[in-house]
Symmetry: C2
DNA sequence: CCAGGAATGGCACTCAGTACCCTCGATTAT
DNA sequence: ATAATCGAGGGTACTGAGTGCCATTCCTGG
């Protein structure tokens, strides 16, 4: 015991992680899955993890927070990602930021699925998840607000697009989680983000414009065919 | 005292409201605004309201819930509204449903503004408000899901549009609340809902389509002129 | 006048979260 | 080398939210 605690892994890559955090998370999940969230007390968790009660609250601000141990880091990642590079379409950028979150879930499929089953059942965890997601949404909205600064409805656009991105991400994520992690998470995400991009066409003058040039007197079925092809995005024939 | 408690107002319209609920809410708000939310205990509230501690939790499930006393009724109103009538454009319908919520806020401007100042400052109240708003969003999404049933991306559309409506509503509501209730709440809401309708054009072919018919080899400035005219919605020349 | 039910008040209890202080081990200054 | 310091962890006691249980009261129907 003394030798296992002694070394702090100074030769590791930058972040020397305390193993106690992981021990708490693991003990908590085992108990939550076995007995249920509200049937498990903090004392149960710290007893199983072999740590002091006070240490639990040193690492997690609440009993609910232990279920979402990696979101602080992920939010920091997203913030850095958005602050880094400011060119390109804003909507594309927030869609990419949302992919960061999905990737984080996909890194630990079994953990994510277990957590999903927990949050679905326990109201307190659902509420806490809402607070977590809300921080992502506010981060995206804040970024969009700076990009839309000056435009008349900029704040409105920022809020609505951020909410749409988060909702689309959650929809794709949930369908993946419901499949038990078997489906391809990226496929559903692609469809979800495509719908967002389609809805909020980025440079967005009034609306997407399709131009079809036809001879006067051309047969109507040909015109319709060309319009449909153009709306699909095909190159002009 | 005995005579004031005696009558239950049987001659009132259907809902005979117990005055104790209102007394608790009023006492709670006075204390929250004076000392702050977390500096006020349940015992403080019930002492000021002149009721028993147990009665508080009979009317409100938590300390936070007393700050949102009318949302249960409003959510029931929205549910009934959406269940009532099922024709017309789904997007229009959820926009109207969102107006119900705004109207509820606008009925008591000073109360809504005071609550806004509280929720902005207290993290626990922000979280609780998220849970409240989430129920509205889920109700809207559930309605849209039934309306979009069968369509390929129906669930995705439902979630995204519901989130957009809620975000647009919140944007309009917040700008009204920040003005202290002085602005016209309906004006901002109209703009917000217009943006939603514009983004999710209802029957939604892929996108708005402008068709311009021109002769092959026509001068480009004429083509551009016609495209611009069509995009403005002018009748074809 | 008397059941009986609904609303209320009064405890006592569990448990989350916090404040305060102690211990131990490692690093550094003298 | 020894002492001072510092940081991570452990322990104890406390506050306050939320719940279960039971007594009381008031209101209603027989």
């Amino acid at each position: 015991m003394t030798e296992a605690r002694g070394r702090k892994q100074a030769t590791e890559s930058g972040t020397a992680k305390p193993p106690m955090r992981e021990a708490i998370v693991e003990a908590a999940f085992q108990l939550f899955l076995a007995r249920g969230f509200e049937q498990t007390t903090i004392d149960d968790i710290v007893a199983r993890a072999g740590v002091g009660r006070r240490s639990f609250f040193r690492h997690f601000p609440s009993k609910e927070a232990v279920v979402f141990p990696d979101h602080d880091r992920c939010l920091a990642d997203m913030t850095r990602f958005l602050a880094a590079d400011d060119d390109g379409h804003p909507v594309e950028r927030v869609c990419e930021a949302a992919r960061l979150v999905l990737r984080m879930y996909a890194e630990n499929p079994e953990f994510s699925v277990q957590r999903y089953r927990l949050t679905r059942k326990v109201p307190g965890l659902r509420t806490h998840e809402l607070a977590v997601v809300w921080r992502y949404e506010r981060t995206l909205a804040q970024y969009l607000r700076t990009r839309f600064a000056g435009r008349p409805g900029g704040s409105l656009r920022a809020d609505v697009i951020a909410a749409a991105v988060v909702a689309a991400h959650n929809n794709a994520l949930r369908s993946w989680l419901r499949s038990g992690g078997d489906d391809d998470a990226t496929a559903a995400m692609d469809e979800a983000m495509a719908y967002v991009r389609e809805s909020f066409g980025d440079p967005g003058p009034p609306a997407d414009v399709v131009v079809v040039v036809a001879r006067r007197g051309a047969p109507m079925w040909r015109v319709v065919q060309e319009v449909e092809a153009a709306a699909r995005g095909d190159s002009p024939t």
